[in-house]
């Protein structure tokens, strides 16, 4: 499946100013690992040492939360994935 992943703008510096990626994968996990191949810097931020989604991140598929079990959620052709980082600043 071909999907699009959008990452927060603050991550642009880790990916040559890119924040939107075209990826392949049948699940969110496969898509994120494909993203990691395109941008190892992003993978280090978003995925933990076991290759799972870091606890400070959430994934939304077409605007809907993929929580829980995000990594095994199926992805369809044309799906848009958003990576959302936990922020706390005020």
């Amino acid at each position: 499946m071909n999907a699009e992943i959008q990452v927060p703008s603050i991550f642009a510096r880790y990916a040559n100013n890119q924040t939107v990626f075209q990826v392949k994968g049948n699940t969110v996990g496969e898509c994120l690992h494909n993203l990691g191949k395109q941008s190892p810097g992003l993978a280090k931020l978003i995925l933990d040492k076991n290759g799972n989604l870091g606890h400070a991140y959430d994934v939304y598929i077409n605007g809907e939360s993929a929580y829980p079990n995000e990594m095994t959620r199926p992805v369809k052709d044309g799906d848009k994935l958003n990576i959302v980082m936990l922020i706390y600043g005020g």
């Binding site: 958003n82 959302v84 980082m85 936990l86 922020i87 706390y88 600043g89 005020g90």
Partner: protein, 247 residues
């Protein structure tokens, strides 16, 4: 009952369809607790005071530092070294002397949070740390007080409104996740945008207008100049609000 001066002061918003003097009187009777007098708390407080919310209690234990002044617009150069709440009350009173403004120069803790928000109708989450945000969220759910969340980082920010027993809460959004908290980058216009969204939600809730940001996370990206809406589901197993589902 509005005074002649209040009718004149709020004339332009009383003109709004669905607002009227009845809406203004609702604002006058409302009691809003603002947690934090920083980047988010400043614009939220300014616009709530300008709109005529009758009673505002603003809590913050910090003192004003020079590095706050790029974004915390209630505090000016002359205020450095002073308590933020004192600086805030001074400015807000000058903006609208008809509003009752209470300053609480305390850290919000599990021991005092219930007392701090007691008898207040709404809570504005303008904090700068996650543990206190969770604490306020949980307290809001327990005491059935609507909770208006906002957060910022760099050019990005987000807002969500929590109606206890009805909509997803902050803990549903983040599932209790915690992060190592560090000094974060931020440009002042970002909390200005988000704080104003929080104030807009508060005014809408009090007056009873429009659609609230419930079960929706509004994500603002100032660099791309986009607003993205993400659906947030109420988690039936949420440690803060799960047992209240369907109340």
């Amino acid at each position: 009952m509005l005074t002649t001066e209040e009718r004149e002061r709020y004339d332009r918003q009383i003109m709004l369809y669905g607002f009227g003097e009845e809406g203004q009187e609702k604002l006058k009777k409302a009691r809003v607790f603002i947690a934090g007098a920083g980047g988010l708390g400043s614009p939220a407080a300014i616009y709530l005071v300008a709109a005529g919310v009758g009673t505002i209690r603003i809590a913050d234990h910090d003192t004003v530092e020079l590095s706050n002044l790029n974004r915390q617009v209630l505090h000016w150069d002359e205020d450095t070294g002073n308590k933020k709440v004192d600086s805030a009350v001074a400015k807000l009173t000058r903006l609208n002397p008809t509003i009752k403004i209470e300053a609480i120069a305390e850290t919000i803790t599990p021991d005092n949070v219930s007392q701090l928000v007691d008898h207040f109708d709404l809570i504005v989450d303008a904090m700068d740390n996650l543990p206190t945000r969770y604490l306020l969220n949980k307290t809001a759910i327990e005491k059935d007080i609507p909770f208006f969340h906002g957060a910022v980082y760099g050019f990005e920010g987000r807002a969500m409104t929590v109606i206890p027993g009805k909509s997803a809460c902050l803990n549903c959004l983040y599932h209790g996740a915690a992060v190592k908290e560090e000094k974060f980058p931020v440009i002042g216009v970002t909390p200005a945008v988000i704080g104003c969204i929080q104030a807009t939600e508060v005014i809408k809730y009090i007056v009873g207008l429009g659609d609230l940001l419930t079960d929706r996370l509004l994500n603002y990206d100032g660099l791309k100049m986009t607003f993205t809406e993400l659906k947030v589901r109420k988690d039936p197993n949420c440690e803060h609000c799960g047992n209240l589902q369907g109340r």
